[in-house]
């Protein structure tokens, strides 16, 4: 059903020295501590990371709950901030889909689509035969997901020992790591343009709409980058 050798290879791909596991772990420690301070029980905190496994979405949920938002408002706010997962999934799944593999693997493993696992997969998929890539992806996803869950538990229990300055330090780890990782993947012209324009348009559109800025800025930046890339090819 699952090629265990390939699955294990994916599972162990997070143990590299500069693996996103560090940023992932640090930020979920912060989330664990934040959830405890919000009044979540340990079960609820684990359940939250287990089911959501997307940091910005968990943060938005926490903030929405703080201001007493309705369930519909929480849904919309989380959907908007996590809508980026749609193009991320579309840019990943065609690379792992194969006619010899069952469809349930795609619909189950899409739960693992998050920045860290996505970046690991994008940098390593070419080293695995297409037929086995879905098992490799499930391995990567399982390990990053487990890191998220265990870090949430760690953060929850260490919340009393983490002062505000440490929490702030932990909160910057994730964006700085992924900012550097994005600079590192700027190897082709259209990806570089997409990243640079996305980084400019995202905050610029914040003045227009704080809720829609990521989606609007991202779609505009990505489309411009795509058109420039296609014109260069033709």
């Amino acid at each position: 059903m699952i090629n265990s050798r390939i699955f294990l290879k994916g599972l162990l791909s997070v143990k590299r020295f500069d693996s996103p596991a560090i940023a992932l772990g640090a930020s979920f420690v912060a989330i664990g501590a934040l959830l405890k301070n919000l009044g979540f029980t340990i079960q609820e905190s684990i359940f939250s990371t287990f089911l959501t496994y997307a940091l910005p979405g968990s943060l938005v949920m926490a903030e929405s709950m703080l201001i007493g938002a309705s369930l519909l408002n929480i849904f919309l706010a989380v959907w908007l901030v996590n809508a980026r997962l749609y193009p991320m999934t579309v840019s990943l799944m065609p690379l792992v889909m194969h006619k010899n593999q069952p469809r349930w693997k795609y619909y189950l493993s899409c739960h693992f689509v998050a920045v860290s696992s996505w970046l690991i997969m994008k940098s390593n998929y070419e080293n695995v035969e297409k037929e086995n890539r879905i098992d490799f992806w499930i391995g990567i996803g399982t390990s990053t997901w487990l890191i998220g869950i265990f870090s949430t538990i760690l953060g929850y229990f260490s919340a009393d020992y983490l002062n505000k300055d440490i929490m702030i330090g932990l909160a910057i780890v994730n964006p700085v790591y992924f900012m550097c990782a994005m600079i590192g993947v700027m190897k082709t012209k259209n990806i570089s343009i997409a990243i640079i324009l996305g980084a400019i348009f995202g905050p610029s559109f914040y003045y227009l709409s704080p809720e829609w800025c990521i989606l609007l800025g991202g779609v505009l930046a990505g489309t411009i980058a795509f058109l420039i890339g296609e014109n260069n090819v033709s």
């Binding site: 500069d18 560090i22 940023a23 934040l34 009044g39 029980t41 609820e44 939250s48 959501t52 496994y53 979405g57 938005v60 949920m61 926490a62 903030e63 709950m65 849904f75 989380v78 809508a83 980026r84 997962l85 749609y86 193009p87 999934t89 579309v90 990943l92 799944m93 065609p94 889909m97 795609y106 899409c110 739960h111 689509v113 920045v115 505000k164 300055d165 702030i168 330090g169 910057i172 994730n174 964006p175 700085v176 790591y177 992924f178 900012m179 550097c180 990782a181 994005m182 600079i183 590192g184 997409a194 990243i195 980084a199 914040y206 990521i214 800025g217 779609v219 930046a221 990505g222 795509f226």
Partner: protein
């Protein structure tokens, strides 16, 4: 578990999984060598960059308590360290956490 928190978690996970689910559904009709795939690939990188840069410039939560100036210092030196260490991701990440904690502690 209290009902409110439980519902909030379920609603959050549904909102998150829906983007992933529709991503797989769309992928079933997309070839990795097609133009539409290349467009989605650009969108994935650009929306991610938009998110990261928004979090650094207009942060939510804990980072809101730091000034633009502090965050700019951290971003500038993190990128510098990233290049000095031949694009190693660990050093700038650790540096950013330590330097921001120190700046916050001493500058406020």
């Amino acid at each position: 578990m209290s009902v409110n928190i439980l519902f909030a978690i379920i609603v959050t996970s549904l909102a998150t999984y829906s983007s992933r689910f529709f991503g797989v559904l769309t992928s079933e009709k997309i070839d990795e060598n097609s133009k539409i795939y290349r467009w989605f690939n650009c969108l994935a990188y650009s929306t991610l960059a938009a998110l990261i840069s928004r979090v650094l410039i207009f942060p939510n939560g804990m980072l809101e308590e730091t000034s633009y100036f502090m965050r700019l210092i951290v971003i500038f030196f993190s990128i510098l360290i990233f290049y000095i260490t031949k694009k190693n991701l660990v050093y700038p990440t650790i540096f950013s956490a330590i330097i921001l904690s120190i700046l916050k502690n001493y500058i406020g």
